[in-house]
């Protein structure tokens, strides 16, 4: 079950062997997968966990008295503890399994909004949020008569912290901010934002979808009130997300979805809801996904998050230098602290054209607005080409990408 390396500095060649998909070719060329920001590939260990579950362990959790159900319930709850430890959360019941980051954010927006947001209140987000961390809050504002306030970004793609402090007010009821920008790669000063917010008794929700694959996240150290992320962006299965919430909030918040699993007792007069975490986990969850997430976390911890971050930063620096050497390339987002994500545009060319020609050469990148339309509007570009690196990518792959990009530019210009 262990990945091929336990060293602090891992061997990329060894690591690549854990990911069967990296052996594939696309249009008869070796796949260069640089769309890790959309979803990461899965190591054999995670795939094996899913296969093992469906082959030999399948049963429903929290229900049966029979051995299979007991066995898988134990594994599923162990996965919850694994996530708790990975995040350094105080309690396992502060970890809620959801369908993904979007689902986690919707849960908090709905439930926290229902309990705490009133007419005239303010909800604060930032210009660089993914649509998933904009729309749920817009909906709450519409429903409750609250006002959405937006922290601006500066020209290099960092949050304007002075503006942030000016926006803080008695009316601010929650701040929702991304840890790492999916479009720009900017690593935001989350700890500072949380500290300032807490001085004003405002809780903070952090969208960690793009942070958890790249950085060691410690919710106790950050003192985050809510931290949301997706398993599939950090080498786990699709369809599983995590919501970490401080006990004091989750205890007070009403259920988001109701049905089987969330109850203690039900009569036609009233329902008494179960305690945490089950209160927020209606219906049969993605059991295989939950235990697969634990395997993905194991995998990452065996590589070492510090080693992952160091290596990915090397790739980021290398690719940045290579890209800037190409005439006409403009990198959107040049913050001093970045995760291994680069967005760029070239001489007025449409990102779609570049993406299509890169694909013909086996290079998978993301093109478009990356679900951050307000941010791209600020940078006055219709879209970007985005490359996002994982620890299984190599400098040799960056060289292939640069050659492919040069070819695309030659064809298009």
């Amino acid at each position: 079950m262990l990945p091929n390396t336990k060293n602090n500095i891992f061997s990329v060649e060894q690591v690549r062997k854990d990911f069967p998909i990296l052996q594939r070719s696309i249009h008869s060329k070796a796949l260069v997968y640089f769309d890790n920001g959309a979803t990461t590939q899965k190591p054999q260990q995670v795939i094996d966990t899913l296969t093992q579950y469906y082959s030999f362990q399948n049963a429903n959790i929290h229900r049966g008295v029979h051995s299979l159900s007991q066995e898988i319930t134990t594994l599923y709850e162990a996965a919850r503890v694994q996530v708790q430890k990975h995040l350094n959360a105080a309690h396992a019941h502060e970890i809620i399994f959801t369908q993904g980051t979007t689902d986690s954010i919707n849960l908090v927006a709905y439930s926290y909004g229902k309990k705490y947001i009133k007419s005239g209140d303010e909800i604060m987000i930032t210009t660089m949020e993914h649509h998933s961390n904009i729309i749920p809050w817009q909906q709450v504002c519409e429903d409750r008569g609250a006002v959405l306030k937006v922290i601006p970004v500066n020209a290099i793609g960092e949050l304007d912290l002075e503006a942030f402090e000016q926006l803080l007010s008695q009316k601010t009821k929650i701040i929702a901010v991304t840890h790492v920008s999916n479009t720009l790669g900017t690593i935001n000063p989350i700890k500072y934002i949380i500290e300032k917010a807490h001085q004003n008794n405002i809780p903070v929700l952090v969208d960690g979808a793009q942070a958890t694959p790249h950085l060691k996240v410690d919710v106790a150290d950050l003192n985050a009130d809510f931290y949301c992320f997706s398993s599939h962006k950090m080498y786990g299965p699709t369809g599983v997300g995590i919501l970490y919430g401080k006990e004091k909030w989750l205890e007070e918040m009403p259920p988001y979805q109701t049905g089987g699993g969330v109850i203690e007792t039900v009569s036609f007069e009233r329902t008494k809801f179960a305690s945490l975490p089950l209160k927020f986990e209606a219906g049969t969850p993605h059991i295989a996904g939950g235990i697969g997430t634990a395997t993905a976390i194991d995998y990452l911890n065996n590589l070492g998050m510090d080693a992952v971050a160091r290596y990915e930063n090397e790739l980021l620096q290398y690719a940045t230098i290579q890209l800037l050497a190409i005439e006409g390339v403009k990198i959107i987002g040049t913050a001093s602290k970045k995760a291994s994500v680069i967005s760029f545009v070239v001489n007025g060319l449409h990102p779609y054209d570049i993406g299509m020609i890169l694909d013909q050469q086996g290079v998978a990148v993301r093109t478009g607005h990356h679900c951050t339309q307000p941010l791209l509007e600020y940078f006055k570009v219709p879209g970007t080409v985005r490359v996002s690196f994982s620890f299984y990518n190599t400098k040799a792959e960056i060289d292939i990408f640069v050659l492919a990009l040069n070819k695309a530019l030659k064809m298009l210009l």
């Binding site: 449409h350 779609y352 054209d353 299509m356 013909q360 478009g368 879209g383 064809m411």
Partner: protein, 143 residues
Amino acid sequence: MSIEAAEKEIIESFNILGEDWEARYEFLIDLGKSLPLLPDSEKNDDQLIKGCQSRLWLKSTYDGQTVKFRADSDAIISKGIAAIVIKVLDNNTPDDIINAPLNFIHLTGLKEHLSPTRANGLVSLIKQIKLDALAFKSQKQVL
């Protein structure tokens, strides 16, 4: 030129290009660059065909006999694809346009652009062209 003859011409061009992706894309790019542009004043939301990534504008006009199309896109490959579709359907009667089976899309390998995730608007373009032709046809019947 009839739709059938225009389709045949396009299929032949693609056959000559063969399996070489570079040649095929260069062909699309050249066509895209050659497509008469729409002036900015005509690129309004009424003419916009919604694809996910590239924007594509289509302007259809009808003289009572045949329909004429002009198109533009902010992406060159999308423009190239639009140029091919227009080359096939331009200057034909609404009925011929509505009934055109458009086999050339499958026979030229353009079908890879039909996937909605490719989002170049080819599917929406064809749909809009046929809708416009239908509208012109009923307009004529009313007149």
